[in-house]
Amino acid sequence: MPDFSSEAKMNLPAVVKCPTGIAGFDEITYGGLPCGRPTLVAGNAGAGKTLFAMEFLVRGATQFGENGVFVSFEESPDELAKNVASLGFDLHTLEEENKLVIEHIRIERSEIEETGEYDLEGLFIRLEFAIDSVGARRIALDTLESLFGGLPNEGILRAELRRLFRWLKSKGVTAVITAERGAEGTLTRHGLEEYVSDCVIVLDNRIVEQVATRRLRVVKYRGSVHGTNEYPFLIGENGFNVLPITSIGLDHDASTERISTGVPDLDEMLGGKGYYRGSSVLISGTAGTGKSSLAVAFAKAACERGEKVLYLAFEEAPRQILRNMRSIDIDLAPCLEKNLLKISAYRPTTYGLETHLAVIHKLVKELGPQVVIIDPITNFLAIGTNQEIKSMFTRLVDFLKGDGITSLFTSLTSGGGYEEATEVGISSVIDTWILLRDVEIGGERNRALHILKSRGMPHSNQVREFILSNEGIRLVDAYLGTAGVLTGSARLAQETRERATVLEREQEMESRRNALERRRQMKQAQIAAIEAEFAADEDEYNRMTAREGIRLKAVQTEREAMGRSRKSEEEKS
């Protein structure tokens, strides 16, 4: 994709643009319609051509100080005034203030006979008179092609139309010319695009599978870049609303602010701080895994911070959501009372996909929320193909990110498996993706949660058990065993087993300690016995020594006595 912004700048001096004031339109055309030039607005009956032309004039007169002339070839001024009054345009006041002239040109074919040469000078004079009477800078011709029905000589008419557009350019008025869409793919029934070639816009009201979607496309814009897509638009109480939602740029700001998920345990898993502000969060899971509960918890947390939340519920009515969430200790009533939470509930099939986008866009612009929750996006599958939803979703995310809005989407994945691919293949635009799933162990289903990805932050790689109770949402530390994550009763059983094991070990240690003690005592007893034995031996020895001493003494005495006796014998001899 080319760099639109720099090209737009480059082209700025070439074509001066005239802001229409139509919401969104000036953005896709980078400034509005070509100033002082005619623009062709083609579309089928009921596509909104008249309204587009009228809004261009009314906004010009009220917002840009450019007066206008509305030349109606079909509706009378009264009819026109009535038709646009519902959009908040007060034509009569504008006329009284000399800001707007409604020139009704009625051509009755049956009244007219054609004889010879003529021109449309009368039309020119009327236009000029009307333009000059209010100093108009803008003009709308609705529907110029009615002339083809009123005037039989097409040759003259075509020559005069060519002259008309030249004349309009020379007058320097910015003109909007409406035309009916022709058959077989031609832009207009009478080939007006041949004359108006500066800017061509096509309005469309297409019905696909019984759902109507209004779209606008800039077919051509000479000398200027423009968004080439079909843009959905709404006609609401404030007039036109074109949605410039495209995936043109990826230049939105990246906030470093972190906001709580509303579930402390989940914050903990996301680096202890929660989601990034302005990021996109996807919570996907099978039915009944608690997607909405997580979404609502986040909404509640945002409201408690004083932020505004837009909650688009496609499955439950607001009252039902309130009731159900009270059961897990989340009371949304205060948020609603403070006007911080807006729950917009409708069936996705109410509108076409593009209209949904338009409605969301409009709600966001009106409410100015910091958080948008869509629950669930998968319900769009009923009204569009995956590809369409993906495109819509990408545009939606880009739009929300561009406005710094944190978005949270839930996605219902089809059951029966562990799905890491969402139904609509939108993971690339998601910053934080939380996966909820069922774990079936031991005859019960429990919920498990893990974070599939979370860009730009450290996050837990654990699979945790996700518990919804009347005390709120808790994420229980997972038991990591051989059978993977264990939940519910299985987890409890495992925990019991674990406790038993610990106890067993403790007891074993105790008994070992006791055994040792016993052995120590035994050894000590043995030592005592040996010592006693030894002492006895020693005693014996001592006694023996003593006895020996006595004996020796006795021997000595005896010997001395003997000696004495021998000596006496020697002495004798």
């Binding site: 020139e103 009244e111 006979e113 054609e114 004889t115 040469e117 000078e121 004079i125 008179f129």
Partner: protein, 115 residues
């Protein structure tokens, strides 16, 4: 061919009214300045009126260059436009009135002329 100027149409209408008296035919010719087509149309109209409604007609020439606001009155966009105000209903004939037959049909004079 007589020129049509600012005064002439007025004079002419007066003249015509004088001739017609209480006009049965009230005709209004819208022109825008003195273009060839306008001049031709007026000449053709005068000739035809004299031939077919002598003394019973009144022609008013309106120059939209002078009075642009009057274009609204009879929903005029083509120039020249001849409007038959009377007899009713209103009929409009656009062009320089060079096709006499069609002018007569347009003025519903064909049958009258044929009578």
């Amino acid at each position: 061919m007589p020129g049509v100027n600012d005064e002439r149409p007025e004079n002419m209408t007066d003249e015509a009214t004088d001739q017609a008296g209480d006009a049965e035919w009230e005709l209004r010719l819208y022109v825008a300045g003195q273009t060839t087509k306008s001049i031709t149309a007026l000449a053709n109209l005068k000739k035809l009126a004299e031939e077919h409604m002598h003394g019973k007609y009144h022609i008013e020439v309106i120059d939209l260059m002078q009075e642009p606001q009057r274009a609204r009155t009879n929903e005029v966009i083509a120039i020249p436009t001849l409007v038959r105000k009377l007899p009713e209903p209103i009929r409009k004939i656009i062009g320089d009135l060079s096709d006499k037959e069609r002018v007569l049909v347009g003025l519903e004079l064909k049958e009258r002329a044929g009578k």
